[in-house]
Symmetry: C2
């Protein structure tokens, strides 16, 4: 029997656990974007979170939920993205070890990021199977606790603290929008939103080139992500099992957007808001640009999930 | 006899006047930058201010200090930069007219910005003389009030509200650093800092390619800016008379930085802080990079003055 899905009170507990360690990120507004779409937008800037992404919330909550004995053996994950960097920094801040299994062909910049946060890297072949096998070996050798990147209640509740802060700061909202990849952020966002503002709609936005969550939502069962193709490299993965169940319960709608809209949204955020947002983080605004989300007179919260981009390889 | 220089209480009054109209911009921190320089940095993000620059503070204070009769005739300035955009938006928010005299060869993007905020543009030849003459004509024709971009107590006190908010938010600081061009921002910053934290040092940073403030400070009289050459296009102007007197009274030191350091600082801010900062706004951090400002164990506030850059023409 599957575990029960977390409730808003679990997000409250997660927030109490992590608030001394995470940034309470600012909520920014833009007159020009509001005028452009006849709406009041509130951008929750998780690009300004530690390690440049909301992932630091879930990783911190997972680590702070461990027993002292578990902490003494460290934590690990197989990831080459924001979750790995987040886990390493959260571990370093608690004075514990972190082990990262990473494909040999991961970009140099990701290796450097993990090492700069004190992560101990094991390289593997670039397949999911090799990553999981490598992780099993590290767990067997070190006794560390494997911390998944989205499919776990601690991760979901940690990520949900971003929407909780957003709503605490701005009050009533008609719609809350987030991107969806594995589903960690949007599932946590939906629990917080429905817990605090039962009348608000929660909308997930996904690149059309990686629309497994959209298809899962429509069909009522998890459709794996096969050969996803999008610039939004944080949204390539399949939905987690727990995340899917939360989404089916709390998310009102999933819409998909084109690559062109993602790049246009990213550029608008940089130009108008003066913030660096990665493609995945621009996906919610892309849903607005494509007019797939009603804006007229509405108060709309958007979670800007991250800001980790290679400045030498901008799409504009 | 020259007017008395403004005191901290004047900044307090300015803040009361404008606080309902300006963003209280966030103060951001970065673990990685702190570790890099063994300091605690507090970045006051005026790049996230309305119109993307601190200039909105001074312009708002100037307009809100007008009588109703003056307001009815509007405001004007000759500028093609952030001050013009700031004045237009501040005027628009009060429902009054704004007149901008702008050189014919001003970049298209600046014209569009001014027009989007409702500014009424008159074009002139690209000389200071033609700009001043054009402004005189507009004032004679419309009866509008000329609002200078830095050499005025209302402007100085408005700009000083950024440092006031910074110090209110973070408390004790050892050093407060800002860029210096015409001197509006640094003079206001120094009044607030010395008023709130008498023991803190105020350091101005200036591009070596536009070092008139540095030379003025050393020689004790205003040295005009002649053929300045720097990517920091907000810092090309000569010091204002009032600004110079405030600087001589309250600023402890002026240091100069190279173009390479400005670009490196700008890139660091984008990469580590995930914010878009224009070259002028990166100048204070460039002073840190060049080790011209002592950092060891210090609490240091930096004013990031603006974020208006052309994304199609980045220097990195």
């Amino acid at each position: 029997m599957p575990a029960e899905i977390p409730v808003y009170q679990d997000v409250v507990k997660a927030h109490d656990r992590i608030r001394g360690y995470v940034h309470r990120t600012p909520v920014l507004t833009s007159i020009s974007l509001n005028e452009m779409f006849d709406a009041s937008f509130f951008f929750k800037c998780e690009n300004l979170q530690k390690v440049g992404a909301f992932k630091f919330r879930g990783a911190s909550n997972a680590i702070l939920s461990l027993s002292d004995e578990e902490k003494s053996r460290g934590v690990g994950t197989h990831s080459s993205g924001n979750h790995a960097a987040a886990l390493c920094l959260a571990a370093k801040m608690q004075g514990i070890k972190s082990y990262i299994v990473m494909p040999r062909n991961a970009p140099e910049i990701k290796k450097i990021a993990v090492e700069s946060y004190g992560g101990i890297i094991s390289f593997c072949e670039p397949t999911l199977e090799a990553r999981e096998k490598g992780m099993d070996e590290v767990v067997a050798r070190t006794g560390c606790t494997f911390v998944p990147s989205y499919d776990h209640p601690h991760i979901v509740c940690g990520q949900g603290t971003a929407a909780k802060e957003l709503i605490e700061d701005v009050g009533e909202l008609d719609i809350v929008i987030g991107p969806v990849g594995g589903g960690g952020l949007i599932s946590g966002t939906s629990i917080s939103t429905k817990g605090m503002l039962p009348g608000a709609r929660v909308i997930a936005v996904e690149p059309a080139g990686a629309d497994d969550a959209y298809r899962s939502f429509k069909s009522g069962k998890i459709v794996p992500s096969v050969n996803p193709n999008t610039i939004a490299d944080g949204l390539l993965t399949s939905l987690g099992e727990l995340n899917f169940r939360v989404i089916m319960k709390h998310v009102d709608e999933i819409v998909t957007v084109s690559e062109e809209s993602i790049i246009e949204a990213m550029r608008l955020l940089w130009e108008r808001m003066k913030i660096v947002v990665e493609p995945s983080g621009a996906v919610p605004l892309a849903g607005i640009l494509e007019k797939k989300i009603e804006t007229g007179g509405k108060r709309i919260g958007l979670i800007l999930s991250g800001g980790n981009v290679d400045l030498a390889r901008l799409p504009f």
